[in-house]
Amino acid sequence: MDFGFILSSIEPVLMPSNLLLIFLGALGGILIGSIPGLTSTMGIALLIPFTYGLEITNSVGMLLGIFCGAMYGGSIAAILIRTPGTPAAAATVLDGYPMGQKGEAGRALAVALFSSFAGGIIGASLMSFLSPVISKMALKFGPAEFFTLAVFGLSVIISISGKSITKGLITAFFGLLIATVGMDKQSGYMRFTRALGLMEGIPFIPALIGLFALSEVFSNIENILSSGKVTAKISGALPSWSDIKRIFTTIVKGAGIGAFIGAVPGAGGDIAAFVSYSEAKRVAKHPELFGSGVPEGIAAAESANNGCTGGAMIPMLALGVPGDSNTAVLMGAFILQGFQPGPMMYVEHLDVVYAVFASMIMANIAFLIVGMAGVKIFAKVISLERKFLIPAILVLSLVGAYAINRNMFDVYFAIAMGVIGYLLQKYEFPLSPILLALILGPLCEVNLRRFMQIDNGEFWRIFTKPICVVFLILALASMVTAVIQQRKINRLTGEAGGSGN
């Protein structure tokens, strides 16, 4: 390994002007990520025109700042207003919001920030050292492997169902069903409706905003007089030493899961975060506390979605295949600058590859610093009087739903999903399985049908593929352990209730 060459390659990354651009990118990314309805993809796409005249190092540094910053920024809205700022922060809601409601919003934000940073650094390091190896594995993914990956992702539903697995499955089936509405991508057949706004299927971001933000707004309007003011305790911008020790293993594991799932083209931070959350719950000493606001829940989700940023870069750089929508837009930025990502990149432009690795590390450091400066400001949001906050959240949610396609249908759809979410929540049906189903349902269906088409309808052939078998075993293990765990939780809570009586 030529260390002199590596040092000369990363030198431009450490120039003050480049660092400033990375910091600006991280700040913009955090802002974009924290606004529900705005995604990092949109942020990167918006900024690409501003990077035309920049050097490749400056351009990629700034865009990576947005990518990493937005991935963390999603957790801010998830913790404070129960709305994942980005789909990747959906699993953060599960423990982040309850923690905020307990008056520990500052602690939750600090855990999210540290876990995102550590996950991002681990993911970027894995990207640097393992990209040639992982990219070879990712290349082996065909429709059958994607289908079983989606099945594995869906197996997580049981562990995020809360008190009633039956109710969790009902909402999951409901989510999977509504994910089939609209034009069938393979045959062009319109399923269930010809409504213009639903042609392309259920609008995902408005659905997410409706289910999580508007349902909470409606619930607050109903119960405003009985809800007290929540004050956020803020002891520091970073978690305490005892919290760091507590979440350390979860972070390392989450980052690994994130980097691996991110490296699979088509699988993003949202899936990684749920899988990591489920794994953290599975191995926890007290799984019954998950969902009530434990730092491990936030750490698992945030380390995985930020670990994913490094993972998603692997197939993009090594194969020229973007791992997700963010890297697809980033790839566009590379091409605009005259660089074609792919295997030849490691031969012809190794200096750029090293510069990208260094920029990724710097982007993570940048959002850590910006996030540390902002934790106190973000946490203040929750201390605002609810009678002021709720109308503002309603407006922001509707604007977020509108912003994606600039389409009024999406706004009304978000309101409708808000009503459905409010009713489901009122009768103790968990909402997270719907979200997971909306993410994984189309992936599952499209790949199953492709696989069946290729293999002439012989489903059994899936058991002859080693990667598929591994995913199916993991899915089965995940479901069985989740059921056993839920029984244990129900027994423990039953005993606690009994002793209480």
Partner: protein
């Protein structure tokens, strides 16, 4: 909660049965092992089975705590329905009236509905939140919000 669970299970069963029947009318494609009807049909069957399980379990359990009410005579529900009407009317006014004009009105109305009566701070909050959200989306993110009446003046 027992009654509520039974009602929810029955609603789910009717919904899933309706979906299943709808899939029977889907066009059949030849030479396609898995057609567009396959997923919705199996998923509706799965939903039906889960709802049936909820119904059976609920029928077999003793009545526990009371389910939360959705009666229109409940004060909280009345407030919610008014809030929902404000949200729908607010969205409906974006295009004809304009985001800048209607947003402070909607924010003010919602604060009033929530029981706030400090009119000066309510006005400030309504105007301030509108300005911040509008400027952030229009100038920072380049997203044009519907201008309604203002578009008549070329804004």
């Amino acid at each position: 909660m027992k009654k509520a669970n039974i009602v929810c299970a029955l609603v789910g069963m009717i919904f899933s049965a309706g979906v299943f029947i709808a899939t029977l009318g889907f066009r059949q494609f030849r030479n396609v092992p898995v057609g567009p009807e396959f997923f919705p049909r199996w998923l509706s069957a799965g939903l039906f089975i889960c709802c049936l399980a909820l119904l059976v379990v609920s029928l077999g359990t003793k009545s526990d705590q009371a389910a939360p009410s959705i009666s229109p005579f409940d004060k909280g529900i009345q407030r919610l329905l008014i809030g929902l009407a404000i949200a729908i009317a607010y969205a409906a006014c974006w295009e004809p009236v304009g985001f800048i004009v209607i947003t402070p009105v909607a924010v003010f109305a919602l604060m009033f509905l929530l029981g706030k009566r400090e009119y000066r701070s309510m006005l400030l909050m309504a105007a301030g939140s509108t300005a911040v959200i509008f400027c952030a989306f229009r100038f920072l993110l380049g997203i044009d919000m519907p201008m309604g009446l203002f578009s008549l003046f070329g804004i």
